[in-house]
């Protein structure tokens, strides 16, 4: 799984000279959210997009997810457009807030994308159980979202995103609203899930430590206009324990990412 180690991955997402411009809504100059982005994301790779606010990291994620159209340039995913991938229901998205349906139980929340995919009921029930066991919430299946803590709600969101077995998991600052302990637990869980499911994960965050701990590669974006200012390989072997956060290697990488931040 390690690009720098020489095991070149099959590219899954190819971002080719992507520019996204938002028309200004008060008559000023249009805002260049992303400018000439070129990036290849390998199959099964865990990649983080980091940068200060306004650097376009979320816009990049949204463009991959076909929630935002490119102004110029293109994104190709396995040779298809993001829209085609979306229509095939191959994306799993996790937002900053859990975005759960409060009128549905945990089980039925996880089930929802499978209903839309039209999977048979028997399959759905088994899959919901499997997903909830994976995120450690099997016992809470019959609860309603508001009865769960923030961390648990976010796990339900992850279970829901993975329920339809997507090719690509897109995560937009999923843990930024959580406390430090919950966050660390979820980091470990996410890495375990990733190892089991072998999904390609694109992870947006403004937390450098988080990005380095989780990723194979960290892409640093700089603002105005949003562009790639550095791509840093994380050569820390896996599986990674929380203790690596104290290692010199880890801290050197964090410092390297931070310095490319400051160069902005």
């Amino acid at each position: 799984m390690n690009i720098a180690a020489g095991t070149k991955l099959e590219p899954e997402i190819i971002i080719d000279d992507l520019t996204v411009v938002f028309p200004s809504n008060n008559g000023g100059d249009p805002i260049k959210a992303l400018k000439n982005i070129n990036l290849e994301i390998g199959q099964g790779e865990f990649i983080s997009l980091v940068g200060p606010s306004g650097c376009g990291k979320t816009t990049l994620l949204r463009t991959i997810a076909d929630l935002q159209n490119p102004t110029t340039g293109s994104i190709s995913i396995r040779g298809l457009t993001p829209k085609q991938i979306r229509m095939e229901k191959k994306f799993g998205i996790v937002f900053q807030s859990p975005v759960l349906y409060d009128w549905r139980t945990v089980r039925r929340n996880v089930c929802m994308p499978m209903e839309i995919k039209g999977l048979p009921k028997k399959h759905r029930t088994a899959r919901v159980t499997e997903m909830l066991e994976m995120v450690g919430l099997y016992k809470f299946g019959k609860q309603y979202p508001h009865e769960l803590s923030g961390g648990m709600q976010q796990r339900v969101g992850i279970a829901r995103a993975l329920a339809i077995d997507p090719e690509i998991l897109l995560m937009d600052e999923p843990f930024s609203a959580l406390d430090e302990f919950t966050k660390e637990k979820l980091h470990e869980d996410l890495l375990n899930i990733w190892r089991q499911t072998k999904k390609t994960i694109v992870f947006v965050t403004h937390n450098i430590q988080e990005a380095v701990f989780l990723s194979d590669r960290v892409v640093v974006l700089s603002p105005h206009p949003g562009r790639v200012s550095a791509v840093i390989d994380v050569n820390i072997p896996r599986p990674r324990a929380l203790s690596i956060k104290r290692s010199a290697e880890f801290n050197a990488l964090v410092a390297e990412v931070r310095s490319s931040f400051e160069g902005v």
Binding site: D66, R86, Y101, D102, W103, E115, I116, H146, E147
Partner: protein, 270 residues
Amino acid sequence: MQRIKKFFTSKQMVTVVWVLGIMVLWEIGAFIVAGTKRSPENVLPHLYQIVQSVFSTKLVNGSQTAFQIVLSNAGLTLFRAGIGFLIGAGIGFLLALLMNLVMPIEKIVFPYLMVIQMIPILGMAPIILAITKDINKSRIVIAAILTFYPVATNTLAGFKSVEKEKHELMHSIAATKYEIYTKLLIPSSIPYLFTGLKISAPMAITASILVDTLQGGGGLGCMLSQSLKHAMTIYVFWQIVFFSAIVGILSYYLMSLIEKAVSPYKRIHK
């Protein structure tokens, strides 16, 4: 001790104080009126007199006591209010759906909805009567007209209040429009729908009573105006005043009960 303290700060306590306060004010008023007016029961009778009239066995129109008159006519009025309410709620909900589905419809229709709301019921009644040519039908229609507006506006607000991320989630798994409505928008709008229903349920009853007064054919409003014209004891009027107030409040609580039954996720909240 803790329980007593809890009771005194509870919601029930507020209600008790509120009801007692009104009763005291009423009685003060009744005493003043009793000392100054020649027929005080026409202005403000004592509460006990009204209660007495409810239990009185005296026949006021040859065959029924005052309370029997109220009850038998209440059935008619509430039936018409209920039918009108159901029709109005249905139309209101469909209208909200339509306005949300087709943007221009909202722009075109909404001003008219407001205009309809602003026409006084008493002005509207003759027009409706001329169209339906039947007073009972027009009573139902007017109850429906008063119902649909709060339901339509609140439900529409419910559709529009759904967070962007929820829409994007549906979009990301390529949900169809039908799925977005059935699995996201309609369930999210349920609390808003019930807000509308809670506003319009008592309104449908009030409207129904008011339209009753326009013509004969039975109903609380008919009895109310007859009683005011002294065709029967004035206590029929007072009983109807209290009866309709109570039924109006009960209709509100009925909506709350139904809401709790259909949305189990909220039951734990409160």
